[in-house]
């Protein structure tokens, strides 16, 4: 059976209400005082200096956008030129008496090789620069590397900015 214990203090709150109002006032006084003690203020020129940085950042962002557009344009142009060289030129300069049983891709490769040779002769005759299939291959690989590098760089840059 549960033991009943009579404690006079249990009736304290009935006969002598707890001074809640005062406690509340002390608490709010302490809250205000803590708030006051914790507060610090920046120096007077802080806003001026910061807004200067913001304006510079805005200008940088605008320049970045411009550069980005230019780079995209240049890379796009390069890729287009490469595609044109690789696939377009054979149709302009290639021979048309190819054997149809030889297969389309083999014909195309022959045409690419033929057009490179034609291009090489043209460059050597007019500009004095010797261009062969290896040179074009190196150029194509270099272009591809630049393209992949710029894409990867942007990807990593975005990731690191997101982390920040």
């Amino acid at each position: 059976m549960k033991k009943f214990s009579f404690i006079l203090n249990n009736f304290y709150s009935i006969f002598n209400p707890m001074p809640q109002g005062n406690n509340k006032n002390i608490d709010s006084y302490l809250d205000d005082s803590i708030r006051h003690s914790l507060r610090s203020e920046t120096s007077e020129d802080f806003m001026y200096e910061m807004m200067k940085r913001v304006e510079i950042e805005k200008e940088f962002a605008r320049e970045d956008r411009k550069t980005d557009k230019t780079v995209k344009f240049v890379i796009g142009g390069l890729v287009a030129v490469m595609i044109l060289i690789a696939f377009g030129l054979p149709f302009f300069f290639g021979t048309s008496d190819a054997d149809s049983s030889y297969g389309y891709y083999n014909i195309m490769i022959d045409q690419i090789a033929g057009s490179i040779e034609y291009f090489s002769i043209f460059m050597t005759d007019n500009l004095g620069i010797a261009v062969n299939s290896k040179t074009v291959l190196v150029l194509l690989i270099s272009g591809l590397c630049i393209f992949l590098f710029s894409k990867a760089d942007k990807l990593f840059l975005k990731k690191s900015l997101n982390q920040n």
Binding site: I26, S33, I34, H36, L38, T42, M47
Partner: protein, 215 residues
């Protein structure tokens, strides 16, 4: 009329830096109080705050702020993380909000809350020229304020950072727990204990009635 977070963000994205100035004016002192509590050096704290504002600006213009939380809460998260990073770099030390075992410490004199606090006494002759301390009550009032100030400035960062977030940055217990990655109970406990300890120190010297004269 006060602009909403969304309106401010929209304006900043459009290139309106005056909208950024509005939020910077509103948050700078509150955020500075937080960086000061971590770095404890005015120049370093201001540099850190500038860095934080730049991060916020870039986040908004780069559409990285997804408006999942309030702009101010997002900003205080940036401020806290930047200040902690700078603290590690500048002081070559590890900043740990967890380094004090609050649950394990006791309310006894000499616990972590008051390890740097020394009993505050007012030298009346020192203050006579500056303040009107003609009456005894004026001295008491000044002394109470000094006790609070000295206590707040002496408590470890593990408490003062949370108190600043709660009282100055107006962050909720949940938001503080989220930013500091602490359990909610620990955050509530630290605020309660820091305030209770202060109450205890003051009530040792002054009665409630005396204190209430200044409320």
């Amino acid at each position: 009329m006060k602009l909403s977070d969304s309106e401010i963000i929209y304006n900043i994205k459009k290139g309106d830096t005056s909208s950024f100035r509005i939020i910077a004016e509103e948050l700078k002192d509150k955020a500075f109080s937080l960086t000061m509590k971590i770095l404890r050096n005015k120049e370093e704290a201001e540099d850190c705050l500038q860095e934080s504002f730049m991060k916020l600006f870039k986040s908004i213009t780069g559409s990285k702020f997804e408006e999942r939380s309030k702009l101010s809460t997002y900003f205080y998260t940036i401020v806290y993380n930047t200040a902690v990073d700078n603290y590690k770099k500048l002081k070559s030390r590890r900043f740990s909000i967890l380094s004090i075992d609050v649950e394990g410490s006791s309310f006894e004199e000499g616990d972590d809350l008051v390890k740097n606090y020394y009993d505050t006494k007012i030298n009346k002759s020192e203050f006579d020229d500056k303040y009107d301390l003609s009456t005894e009550s004026k001295i008491s009032e000044t002394e109470i304020k000094k006790i609070i100030n000295d206590y707040i400035n002496s408590i470890p960062e593990q408490y003062s950072v949370i108190l600043t977030m709660f009282y100055i940055n107006d962050l909720s217990h949940d938001e503080i727990a989220g930013i500091l990655k602490l359990p909610l109970g620990t955050v509530k406990n630290r605020i309660f204990r820091a305030k209770n300890k202060l109450k205890e120190i003051i009530l040792k010297k002054y009665s409630e009635e005396e204190i209430l004269q200044y409320v």
